[in-house]
Amino acid sequence: MGYPKDRRYTKEHEWIELKGDLATIGITDHAQHELGDVVFVELPKLGAKIEAGKSFGTVESVKAVSEIYAPANGEVIEANGELQNKPETINSDPHGAAWLIKVRLTNAKGISDLMDAAAYEAYIAEKGKETSA
């Protein structure tokens, strides 16, 4: 799968898409593949503050619990309520319909340090080599 070029990526496999000071955050296709069938999502409430590098929610597959880490600082203005009833959307459309939260950024510092699509693809390719050598 090609990773969308209009966003940035973290080493913990989240993506963030910016429009001015509004950002949409989700997990990557690689992340959903690693997790397997997603059955449960826990997201923050409206108005919650998220902090770069800190966990703001969890995604669970049958086998595993995974923390989701904030790529930036901000305040949650919307959480994707659809995912509560259809968590499997995270497997089928992680970069689209299965966005997790929308936030108003309190500062955009550090976002430009995140990986672009090409760097992220290289990053996960490298990780793949480590585990299948």
Binding site: T28, V62, Y69, S132
Partner: protein
């Protein structure tokens, strides 16, 4: 996402089907020191695998399981006496061709491992043990059978073990063997030609709560892959898919089958685990018996219960279990969403006072307490069939 840490792959042990699993696109994990498939995303992944076994048929590579043969020394009866000494079930009741669930115990009455004991001959037994405890088990068996006139052989690397599981398993395997599978009852076995391999052990056993067979073929890579492929081909009309350890775990959990290191361990005794019916105190001496006598007289401090989440949340292994007042009283040993019911189920140890059906408990998930209740187990029981084809 957490990035999980993995051991260097070279340090992990591999079954003869390792390369095949990788070609099939399996997601591999370190399971007790073994590089094993947890699921096969290209053919649908864990939930699809679980449903294939409940609804039709799936195949598992379980070659990581260990196999210990104990047979006669100079005099007949030595192997039986040794097996009776090191296992809690009564192996003297087994007919030749019959198997049963049993366990090896420490003198404290807690678990070395659980085991399926097969009676191959009058004084000839095959013990199938867990992968993660193979070395510990074989050493323990050797140490504790020294005084007996029996020969202990570690055959763990001699076999590729495939589990063909599900309501259509018999139809699939029957295409590949001359043995009359309909004549093999649950927990019995026979030897027959499978995929041209003479004298193959075929057992009607498994770890899924479903009908099914486990076959033991020579462990060469080419032979193992050929048998696997023939099983897949024979199962094609029934939608057979390869199944990994993920589905194996959810299937056994729904059926309330114990997993070593979770429901049973060196800390937990037979009565607590609720495995009374596989422990035959009346058969005479065996390791752990005296401690179990004392434990029975002392009464249970904790007992294994099945719980189902009421609140939205998934109980996982090692999460704390609280009473309705919020006081910590026990611990979850295995927890998962149930692919069959869609509910979030778990097994947990709690004091007997909290074990009655309907008792409300609270499971601590990331610092919050979520409501659950004690429910009947097993969570899943396979429908009774009239014919045993």
């Amino acid at each position: 996402m957490d990035s999980s840490t993995t051991s260097p792959i070279s340090a992990l042990r591999k079954t003869p089907l390792n390369a095949l699993h990788r070609r099939l696109g399996a997601k591999m994990v370190n399971f007790g020191g073994w590089d094993m498939p947890v699921e096969y995303p290209p053919s649908g992944g864990l939930i699809a695998e679980h449903k294939a076994v409940r609804g039709s048929v799936g195949v598992f590579d379980v070659s990581h399981m260990g196999d210990i043969r104990i047979h006669s020394g100079k005099k007949p009866g030595g192997a039986l006496a040794a097996v009776q000494h090191i296992t809690m079930n009564d192996a003297s009741r087994l007919a030749i061709g019959q198997a049963h669930y049993s366990a090896m115990l420490y003198p404290e009455g807690t678990f070395v491992d659980d085991v399926i004991v097969h009676r191959l001959g009058e004084d000839d037994f095959l013990l199938v043990i867990n992968a993660g405890t193979r070395e510990k088990d074989i050493n323990w068996v050797r140490d504790n059978t020294k005084g007996f006139d029996g020969v202990v052989e570690d055959l763990s690397d001699a076999y590729t073990q495939l589990a063909i599981q599900g309501p259509r398993a018999a139809e699939v395997l029957q295409k590949l063997t001359d043995a009359d599978l309909g004549a093999i009852k649950n927990y019995w076995f026979t030897h027959g030609t499978v995929c041209g391999l003479k004298n193959t052990l075929i057992a009607r056993t498994g770890y899924t709560g479903e009908d099914g067979f486990e076959i033991y073929v020579p462990s060469g890579v080419a032979t193992s892959e050929r048998v696997w492929n023939q099983v897949m081909e024979a199962g094609r009309e029934f939608g057979i898919i390869p199944c990994g350890l993920g589905a194996r775990n959810t299937l056994r959990l729904e059926s309330k089958m114990a997993l070593y290191g979770h429901e049973i361990s060196e800390q937990i005794n037979v009565w607590e685990a609720g495995l009374d019916r596989y422990c035959k105190m009346e058969k005479g001496e065996f390791i752990g018996r005296a401690a179990l006598e004392r434990a029975k007289a002392a009464g249970l401090a904790r007992t294994l219960v099945g719980i189902e989440m009421i609140d939205r949340g998934i109980a996982r292994d090692e999460y704390c279990c609280c009473n309705d007042a919020g006081e910590r009283v026990g611990v979850v040993t295995s927890g998962s969403p149930s692919p069959t019911s869609g509910k979030n189920i778990a097994l947990a140890y709690v004091p007997p006072a909290y074990s009655a059906l309907g008792t409300v408990l609270r499971v601590e998930i990331r610092g919050q307490k979520y409501k659950a209740q004690v429910v009947p187990t097993p969570f899943y029981k396979r429908p009774k069939k009239h014919a045993t084809a």
